[in-house]
Each structure stands twice: as structure tokens, then as C-alpha cells.
């Protein structure tokens, strides 16, 4: 079964790279949204460095959201989702593998781009490490909770917009603790560790809830 799942993750990653557009669009979106901010707020470097952690996090959430609704849709269209559902691996493991592939192909590239965008927003030098750390710890929650939204809207009309409405409320705790961990370093108030630990706990919890709920939703729709 492990082999099946590894093959599935590999297939999704190859698709993400070769199909083109998926990773590039998310990165481009992230870049352009962050570039728009100083244009809208005015180039006040002090203000920008104060709001930089929040802006980088919010833009990352939105960029990751873009690619969510394709997580199961393409497989549903060409029928491979039926094959996966009847295959040797349980559907819960399949959804977990697909969420993992989404994290590797979206969460990690966005996290790697974030410090570069931090330069544009005049982020404090000492905040780069914590920012990357919180994003690496928090982005799994985005992919795994997002898989629930993607699975629920598989057959829905206007699926893309609906995913945002369903999933963003679930992202709020991740956002709050991700930003408060970075802000604790930027504003030097202490309290990085508790916020970071809660953020990791949210991610670990979503690793359990996400695949279970996503598999339940897909099973209902394939019947």
C-alpha cells in the first residue's frame, strides 16, 4: 500500500510540474498580490515592515486557495478517481496522499518565495527565520483542511468560489497563530514558542481530520 501511495504522490507531483500552470500560477499570484500592497498603501517602509508578516500570510493563503479546487476535479473528470476509490489503498490514504502532493507542490514553493517578498515589504531581518518556520509548520493545515473543501465541492456549481467560502473559516486559527508567532519576534514581545506550538498542533490535527472528512465526502459523491 505504501508503494501505491508513493506512486500516487509521485504522479501528482509530476502532473503539477508537467501540466504547467499549477505551481507557476500560485507563485505569480503571490508575487503580484504582495507587489500591489505597497502601491495601495503607499511606500511607507515603517508601516510596511509592521504589517509584513500578516500580509505575507494572507496572500499565501489566497495563493494556496487558487489551486485547491483542482485537487480532485481533474481525477474526477477523467475517471481516475473511481479507479483510486476501488483500488487497493483505502480512500482516506488516497486523499492524504493527494493533500501531501498539494502541500509539496504549493505550500513549499510559496514558503520558499515568501522571504523574497519579505524584502519588498521591508520585513525585519530577524523575522525571516520565524516566518519560514511558521509557514512550513502551518501550510500542511492549508493543504489538508483544503482537501475537505475540494472534496465537498467536487460536484457543486460554482465550485471555485464556494471552496473559498467553506475553507477560509477553517483557516482562521492557522492564520491567527501563524501571524502572532511572527509578530512576537518582530515586536519583540516574546511568546513565539507557544504560538508556534499551537500552530503545529493545528497542522497535526488537520492531518487526521482532513483525509477522513475528504474521503467521506468523495465516497458520498461516487455512489
Amino acid at each position: 500500500m505504501t508503494q501505491t501511495l508513493l506512486a500516487l504522490v509521485g504522479r501528482d507531483l509530476r502532473l503539477a510540474v508537467r501540466e504547467g500552470g499549477a505551481i507557476g500560477t500560485a507563485l505569480g499570484f503571490y508575487l503580484i498580490v504582495v507587489t500591489m500592497l505597497p502601491l495601495g498603501l503607499g511606500p511607507d517602509l515603517k508601516l510596511l515592515s509592521k504589517i509584513a508578516p500578516g500580509m505575507l500570510w494572507i496572500a499565501l493563503l489566497l495563493a494556496a486557495l487558487l489551486s485547491l479546487n483542482r485537487m480532485f476535479e481533474a481525477d474526477d473528470e477523467d475517471g481516475s478517481l473511481d479507479v483510486l476509490a476501488t483500488g487497493p489503498a483505502p480512500l482516506e490514504a488516497v486523499t492524504a496522499a493527494k493533500a501531501l502532493a498539494h502541500w509539496i507542490s504549493t505550500g513549499i514553493p510559496l514558503t520558499l518565495l515568501a522571504p523574497l517578498l519579505g524584502l519588498l515589504l521591508n520585513l525585519d531581518l530577524e523575522a525571516y527565520g520565524p516566518l519560514m518556520a511558521t509557514m512550513l509548520a502551518g501550510t500542511p493545515a492549508i493543504s489538508f483542511l483544503g482537501s475537505v473543501g475540494a472534496a465537498l465541492t467536487l460536484k457543486a456549481r460554482r465550485g471555485g468560489l464556494l471552496v473559498a467560502l467553506l475553507v477560509l473559516p477553517l483557516y482562521i486559527p492557522t492564520l491567527i497563530f501563524g501571524i502572532s508567532a511572527v509578530s512576537a519576534v518582530v515586536l519583540d514581545t516574546g511568546g513565539f514558542k507557544p504560538a508556534f506550538l499551537i500552530l503545529s498542533a493545528i497542522s497535526l490535527g488537520s492531518l487526521v481530520i482532513g483525509p477522513l472528512a475528504a474521503a467521506a465526502a468523495i465516497r458520498l459523491q461516487l455512489q
Binding site: V148, L165, I209
Partner: protein, 250 residues
Amino acid sequence: MQTQSITQKLANPTRFMYLSGKILPWLAGAALLCIAYGVLLGFQTPPDYQQGETVKIMFIHVPAAWLAMMGYGLVAVSSFGLLVFRHPLADVSAKSAAPIGAAFTLLALVTGSLWGKPTWGTYWQWDARMTSVLILFFLYLGLMALRSSLEDEALAGKLSAVLALVGVIILPVIKFSVDWWNTLHQPAGVMKGALDPVFLQPLLISAIGFSLAFFALHMQAMRNEILRRRVKARQVMEVDRASHEQGAQA
């Protein structure tokens, strides 16, 4: 002979319609009386030494906030009943409870905001309790949006149930948010005897009245939903019959 539990007996929609038709007028009447009495008592309370007259908002705000959470609890329990026990009325119950719960959540947010302006000096503060109740409101909206976006009603019900069960995590977060993060909103004091009996009495009567009103609204909404489904089933049958007749003639 095997005895049936109440939930099993109610699984028959016709029996539910009969029973709820009997109960509903009494439930609605009791709710009206309780709320009226609670309002009357509320207006007779003396002004609070700190909050002044604004303390009266509590008689609406606190029950509304309780029911906002209870409403989501009802949606979640119904969803569980649908997915696990396949109870035929569970989906009707979950569907009917969501808009009512959302309305009470909005009521709690609005009254809290109106109370916050004179007391805290601001309509809105991003503290833990308010933010988590706002998330609850968004969850309600998401549930309703998901349901309305699917053509197949049975599937829509089941998928909403999955989402409702995922969202259940918000309930303990709301409940303990005032204890975990010591931000602006004060911890609950009703059960700990922090409230003077002068204020406690109208609050409890108002809470009972609001709860009765919630159940009366929920019951009526369930009746409406059952009737709507019957009408739809009839229409489908009628269309089927007509198309068969046309087929026979041709």
C-alpha cells in the same frame, strides 16, 4: 414486543407532522409568554452600578449567544444522525436548524456590538470570543451555501453533514475562548453565581423563552420542509405520469 425509542417513532414523517401539529401552538405560546414576562422583568431591573441601563441588553445577548452555539450543536447532532443512523428526519432537522442558528448568531453579534459601544467604547474588537463567534457565523453561511449549490438534495444534505461535523471543533473554542485568551470579553458568570438575583431572574426567564422560541421556529421550519418535499415528490410523479400518457398516445 420491542419498544421503540422516541427518535425511532418520529422517523415516520406523518407521525411527526401529527405530533408537531399538536405541540407547536403550545410551544409557541409558552415562548411568547416567557419572552414577554422576561422583557417586563428586564425593564423593571435597576441600572447596574457600572454598566447603567445598557445591562438590559444582556437579557437578549446572553440567550442569543447560548442558542447560537446550541443551534450549531443541533445541526451537528442531526448531521451525525443522518450519516450514522440514516434517520429520515435528520436531514430535515439539520437543514432547518442552520438558518435559525445563523440568525441567533447574528443577533448575538449585533447586540454585543451595541452593548460594547457604551461599555468598552468600541463597536468591535478583535478579541477571542468575538472572533470565534464570527467564525461560527461564517460556518453557518458556508453550510447554507454548500447546500444551495448542489442540485441533488440528498447528496447536498450528506455533504453539508460532513462539513458540519468538521466545524464542530469551533464549539469548544468559543466556549473556552474567554478562559484561554484573557482578552476583552468577560468570562461567563451566570453559572458561577457572579450575577445578582435581580438580574439573574429576568435573564433565566428570557433564556427559557428564547430557547422555546428556537424550538418552535425549528419545528415549524421542519414542517415546512417536509411539506415542500411532499409537494416536490407529487410534482415529479405528475410529470412522470404525464410523460407516460404521452408515450402511450404516440
